[in-house]
């Protein structure tokens, strides 16, 4: 069918099942936006391109579909970079479409020209510059395939402006022909047999799950394995929700601000079953002393992750969609009575964890972050999506919010991007309109993309925004308090930002909570009310996130805060 490149792009997006894009128009994408107008293609206009890319990311994390963002050339494209890097670190499927200056202007330092392929190469799974309209359908097809298969990730498509205007004979390809990438990761059954053997012969196994389980949608298989073995389990920050927080023997998440129980269990176990995780430095503590007594088993799709940070004793390469059902079936066939064998060990680590659970100390009528998040967690149903920004509140949310299902705890784990939360929560709600969405953010993080409050008002997006307001860049302040002699250098937020007024000015309801009793008297009503609301909650400034593994220490050298 004859059509121009702009229309062909939108037709291609439709073929890929895209029902919504997040985008911001500009010079070189005017033609594209004209077609968006004519086709009534749903586009959410954000306040900033960074908001658009994080929103697409939140949409992808919540739904499992590919998030799509559109930006113009130059500054538009450059504003996407933080969001692309965020998605890349957490293996989130995105297709990022940017306009480029027209073919004859490329390389001439033209107005709003930036080398998008050059900038995005280190932070994308793959990228394209489309200079010829005839390549456009194939490139879109490949981009979606690459973004969502294997280890998901962001793909950038940079399109020269004249491509949008050029008429050609549009035909969407059926087949993909990539010599260097199949997107298929088969599993060698023998490697799974070795793991079954290791499980049958070990004494103290621990299951450790990461974001790969979410990405591969294998949480059901995982849960059956956990229940078949009856052994303790833990997760990374990215793995939260893959195992229901109330599962017997689940120890909470592990790592720097993870639970005492999980970290002690990692150091004590003799078999660590690591599933879809990459041994980030936040999770291992001092790497040479990580899980010193354990045989480490690594279930992993990406061969480059195996033996990158931690040496695996056994590896199961390939897609968890093959390896976990295989493991599950083999364990079901096993004659070993795993529950009986591991029950004493499970009781032991659970009791160890109960010695120092995540906790807080009440202080007069002040609202403690732990109390706040616990209360909200209690108010939420099992399908609520919790989104966080980055900093102290993020760790408190990870500690106190009970994640029950995958794709319901959305956080910037790898890159740690402040400003991620608000747009991501927006994207999550648009992806899952039937689910409640709560954002935990801080008085630092919210300021980084606060313009999106207006987008939320514009589109009547019902999310509850909880600002854990401590008048400081909390995590920076905590490190300064603990390791830099209380030198609060450039971290205090003394100016009394009035988030209630800001919310009102943007067209959103705003509430302020300052006393502990308001968590019971006021919070439920606000929380259950219809429509977006900003809930500005004052909490004490000098509260630390504890426990904590200080940098360079072993996981069992946690600072508990009760010394």
């Amino acid at each position: 069918m004859k059509m121009n490149g702009a229309k062909a792009l939108l037709e291609s997006l439709k073929r890929e099942g895209v029902d919504l894009v997040f985008g911001y128009p500009g010079g070189v994408v005017l033609k594209l936006y004209d077609e968006i107008y004519k086709m009534k293609f749903p586009n959410i206009l954000t306040g900033h391109e960074q908001g658009a890319v994080h929103a697409a990311d939140g949409y992808a994390r919540a739904s499992g579909k590919v998030g799509v963002v559109i930006a113009t050339s130059g500054p538009g494209a450059a504003n996407l970079i933080t969001g692309i890097a965020t998605a890349n670190m957490d293996s989130i499927p995105l297709v990022c479409i940017t306009g480029q200056v027209a073919n004859p202007a490329i390389g001439k330092d033209s107005f709003q020209e930036v080398d998008v392929c050059g900038i995005t190469t280190p932070i994308t799974k793959h990228n394209y510059l489309v200079k010829d309209v005839n390549e456009l359908p194939r490139v879109v097809k490949e981009a979606f395939f690459i973004a969502k298969t294997g280890r998901p990730g962001p793909v950038s498509i940079d399109i020269a402006a004249d491509v949008f205007n050029t008429e050609f004979d549009f035909e969407y390809p059926e087949e993909i022909n990539l010599r260097g990438y199949s997107g298929k990761y088969p599993v060698n059954e023998k490697s799974v047999d070795e793991v079954v053997n290791a499980i049958e012969t070990c004494e103290r196994p621990l299951i450790f799950v990461g974001g790969g389980v979410t990405g591969s949608e294998t949480s059901d298989d995982l849960r059956k394995i956990v229940s078949r073995l009856g052994c303790p389990s833990t997760s990374t920050l990215m793995g939260l929700g893959c195992i229901d927080a109330d599962t017997e023997g689940y120890l909470g998440f592990a790592g720097m601000h993870g639970s005492y129980g999980a970290n002690m269990a990692i150091q004590a176990c003799d078999l660590l079953l690591c599933i879809g995780m990459r041994f980030s430095d936040r999770v291992t503590g001092r790497i040479k002393d990580f899980a010193p007594n354990a045989k480490i088993v690594h279930f992993e799709l990406d061969p480059a992750e195996v033996n990158k940070n931690v040496q695996a004793d056994l590896k199961v390469l390939g897609d968890l969609r093959y390896s976990l059902p295989m493991l599950r079936n083999k364990l079901e066939e096993s004659l070993t009575n795993f529950h009986e064998k591991f029950s004493a060990w499970k009781t032991q680590v659970v009791e160890k964890g109960n010695e120092h659970p995540f906790s807080w100390t009440d202080e007069d009528d002040k609202i403690k972050p732990g109390a706040l998040i616990t209360k909200i967690s209690d108010l939420c149903d099992e399908n609520t999506i919790a989104v966080t920004d980055v900093g102290q509140h993020q760790m408190w949310a990870a500690q106190f919010f009970k994640s029950r299902k995958p794709r319901q705890f959305l956080t910037s784990g790898g890159l740690g991007t402040m400003g991620f939360g608000l747009p991501a929560a927006m994207g999550a709600k648009l992806a899952c309109p039937d689910k409640n969405v709560v954002l935990f953010t801080g008085d630092g993080s919210i300021m980084m993309n606060i313009q999106e409050l207006a987008t939320i008002a514009d589109h009547d997006i019902d999310i509850k925004i909880v600002i854990v307001h401590n008048f400081i860049l909390g995590m920076v302040g905590q490190w300064q308090r603990l390791f830099y002699s209380h030198h609060y250098s450039a971290s205090e937020l003394k100016c009394k930002r009035d988030f209630v007024k800001i919310a009102n000015a943007m067209g959103i309801r705003g509430y302020r909570l300052t006393k502990a009793e308001e968590l019971t008297s006021d919070l439920p009503e606000i929380f259950y009310s219809k429509g977006a609301a900003v809930i500005d909650v004052f909490v004490p400034e000098e509260e630390n996130v504890l426990p904590m593994v200080p940098g360079g220490k072993r996981l069992d050298q946690m600072v508990l805060g009760k010394e």
Binding site: T121, K125, N127, I146, G180, P303, A304, Q311
Partner: protein, 166 residues
């Protein structure tokens, strides 16, 4: 540090060399040389990389990370199998009447060639292993070297099986 020769077959598309070299630098891998050229198939470029690593494990990292690039079709570690390695160098040396005869004998001994000559200098061309090229450079350092251009090592397996079928 151990050196390995990697033959990397990639799609012949713009930007692929940037992807490969960018990955090597951002992952902090050490490379001794990198060169790229057309192959018997017009759609395939062959990138020859000499990588210097501490351990086999680090080599695996290099190979696994490179393999993740979508445009990388295949990587073969040629150091594992019998192979021929060659590098080409051109050296411009100051050569007046006094030194010219000596230089000609050096060229003969190394079975190199003189490919350009003027009253003031000569250009020597030599193909060989890296060590042979290092050796001629060493000998010529007694004379006045004006400039050197080296290609970096390329390698080909011995026997009938090409890299694409390995």
């Amino acid at each position: 540090m151990q050196k390995y020769f990697l033959a990397v077959l990639v799609e012949n598309k713009p930007g692929v060399l940037t992807h490969v070299s960018g990955l090597i630098s951002r992952r902090a891998f050490n490379i001794e040389s990198i060169s790229a050229g057309y192959t018997e198939e017009p759609s395939v470029t062959r990138i020859n990389i000499v990588v210097s690593v501490e351990s086999e494990n680090e080599l695996d990292q290099v190979v696994n990370q490179l393999s993740k690039l979508i445009d990388v079709i295949k990587i073969v570690n040629l150091s594992k199998s019998p192979s021929i390695e060659r590098e080409l160098v051109m050296i411009k040396v100051r050569a007046d009447k006094k030194t010219r005869a000596d230089l000609v004998s050096v060229v003969d001994i190394f079975r190199a060639q003189i490919v350009d000559i003027t009253s003031e200098n000569i250009v020597i061309e030599l193909t060989g292993s890296q060590s042979k090229i290092d050796a001629i450079c060493e000998v010529l350092s007694d004379y006045e070297i004006v400039e050197i251009a080296r290609t970096g090592t390329i390698a080909l397996s011995r026997g009938p099986i090409p890299v694409k079928q390995m």
